[in-house]
Symmetry: C2
Subunit: 389 residues, 2 copies
DNA sequence: CACCTCGCTTTGAACGTTCAAGAGGTTATT
DNA sequence: AATAACCTCTTGAACGTTCAAAGCGAGGTG
């Protein structure tokens, strides 16, 4: 009873060989039904469970996925990662995977950790968060053919030579020197038809901002370093918030976001710009994230001659600051549906984190198990309406 | 280069046998210095890393610790777990351990998961959070001699028979029917001398509440199901907040907490009661956690004939609700230093989460590696003063 | 009848590590 | 001088699983 139950124990109990038990577990169709049943009964009776370490040694598959746990920056957005992790863990278990955590101070340290984890634990794959422009992590992993998914689309930007080289390796059939037009066309095709069309329709009508957003997306999307990813459509989120404000009668709607260059921030601004019919720089402020910063930016916007009557903010932190000093009539929206938004009563954009996590696992499991070609997933956020707008 | 570097590769490169390489890694003192150096150079030159799976198969040590990731209840306290997890991950790595996540809906599911994880991944140990009265998880683990630490002290409460039975098994030498006095005396001795004395001095002087708190602690502490734990001294936290209010001139200080029976909640109330010189039920309200609940309780307290001028709350959620409706003169304190407290400017009690996590790893690693007898660790929280009090 | 194929099952080896035992040489002990 | 004790290192086996190959009986084919 207390002794370890191995495949040999089961084999003896069912009067078959080790390999037959293994086959029942891994390739049941090779085993005669009667035998299969007998083995299954033995497994159940003995409470046998396959030893992952031994299995790993033979197959090289650890069934372990790694995720980086970041220090919470200002704590406000911390719960986002928290919820995402929970979603990952829940989604991974039924697929037969477990989540391993690692910490890293920066991208270089993170790469060192990959190396370490791959060498010692033979991890099956990685889930990366916080992708950004010029992300060295994805190329490192891709070069070594390590399966991974990013939560956050790739923001691309490799040097031309490297890009061409990698493209030639990964897509030998397609034209390496594809024209801009084909690069623009192809990526959309990778989305599921409905989503792709829906998104295309939504992005293109908008004037300058919409177009530049689309081409930027295409650039990274069809780029040689493309890889499976899951993302929430940030632009749709801020657009929804903006439309909600328009519907409430607001005509001058300001935007408080982050400095240009952060993909996510640019997207959120593009959503706002698209909804009001074009980017109006005089109505937008860019600042690093933070409550005090949001307050300052809001003060600045609200003190202009013809001030906005509503503010769309790129984060709940900024929104919290803005809401704190805005006079009652001024509407404010945030982003992320954090606890702070809940407590303050901020209307905010909620990301479907559990869904996003589940799709990350799907994609990774697909690559690992099925070898299916992973398609990017873009999820729509939802607007949570509270009293602030 | 691309080929796997195993211990055999290193052995060949250094002109020694496999076992010698193994000895250099695990029992270096058995190897002559010159050989040791040669092997180490080979290891460095080849970039060898021990394969954990193979090592695990032989030794039964996975170097993996598991932690449950809970769904964030109301999101406000979510970041607490988040920070704790980050601390664990960071502390575990240098000690040679990695953190594995698992999700479970309730204690029973959690136990099933233990079983699964132990059988398939041969986990080395568990870190449990959210310990509570009648926790079945700890006894399950203890019965199977699985190493674990809890973040949160044991709240005990086994049926007498089971207690006696387990006591007889685990402490064959000591008297099973120990008197209350010895139970009270012994536990304090397990703390480091200074801490024990400090804590004893702090708890006992208080009148009714302090005494009952102390005996309750003793009961669970010296209880047969005691195990290594790390906790933050909740009572000290609320006491510090209360003293801060007393120092600011407040004389009638109310308390908003949770229904009796949650160990943590009772402790936080005891801290308040101790600081004001005794538990005054008319100044205390108990409710489930939540912003709206905090608001209601505060309204109730503040509408009494001789209302309190300050409110000590058992959580930032409750405090957020209370602070929202309290008139400017009324001071409010929370607990946990969440993002909400930061944004609202709530004075609150901060738990040293990174430190707590590190101590959890220390204790667990101590049991696993050194076989040292683990001593409970009680950490002092700190008061973060903001404008709310 | 000899041979091949098919369905099901078994056998031996291997994954990379550590344990248990022992080999060979040098030094200490009696 | 014989023997024990020690130090250093090596050899074979084992952990629990799956891979690769082969065994074996039944049925089909030339």
């Amino acid at each position: 009873m207390a002794d370890k139950v191995t495949i040999a124990t089961v084999a003896a109990h069912a009067n078959v060989s080790r390999q037959t038990v293994s086959n029942v577990l891994n390739t049941p169709h090779l085993v005669r039904e009667e035998t299969r049943e007998r083995v299954r009964e033995a497994i159940a009776a003995l409470g046998y469970r396959a030893n992952q370490a031994a299995r790993l040694m033979r197959t090289g598959r650890s069934h372990l996925l790694a995720v980086r746990i970041e220090p919470t920056h200002d704590g406000i957005n911390g719960s986002v990662l928290d919820r995402f992790l929970h979603g990952l863990t829940e989604a991974a278990a039924p697929a037969g995977y477990r989540i391993l955590l690692y910490a890293a101070a920066d991208d270089q340290a993170e790469i060192a950790t990959y190396d370490e984890l791959l060498a010692t634990y033979e991890l099956d794959g990685f889930v990366l968060t916080s992708t950004h422009h010029g992300d060295v992590r994805t190329s490192w992993l891709a070069e070594r053919a390590v399966p991974f998914v990013t939560f956050g689309r790739p923001w691309g930007r490799l040097s031309p030579e490297r890009g061409a080289e990698r493209l030639a390796r990964s897509l030998p059939a397609s034209g390496a020197g594809a024209s801009e037009a084909s690069q623009l066309a192809e990526p959309w095709g990778r989305l599921s038809p409905e989503r792709g069309a829906e998104r295309l329709a939504r992005s293109l009508p908008a004037s300058g901002a919409g177009a530049s957003e689309a081409s930027q997306l295409a650039e990274s999307w069809g780029a040689p370093d493309s890889h499976p990813w899951v993302d929430v459509d940030n632009a749709t989120g801020t657009a929804a918030a903006t439309k909600h404000l328009l519907g409430a009668g607001h005509r001058r709607i300001g935007f408080i976001g982050w400095p240009e260059g952060s993909g996510v921030g640019d997207e959120r601004r593009a959503g706002w710009a698209g909804a009001i019919g074009g980017d109006l720089p005089e109505l937008a402020r860019a600042t690093v994230d933070g409550v005090a910063e949001g307050e300052a930016a809001a003060r600045d916007l609200l003190s202009m001659p013809d001030p906005p009557t509503a503010l769309v903010c790129a984060s709940d932190s900024l929104a919290a600051g803005a809401y704190g000093i805005a006079s009652p009539g001024v509407a404010v929206t945030g982003f992320d549906d954090t606890a702070v938004a809940r407590v303050l009563g901020l209307t905010t954009v909620a990301q479907p984190l559990a869904e996003a996590a589940a799709r990350c696992v799907d994609l990774l499991a697909g690559v690992l198990d099925g070898g299916t070609a992973p398609r990017p997933v873009l999820l729509p956020p939802s607007l949570v309406i509270r009293q602030s707008a």
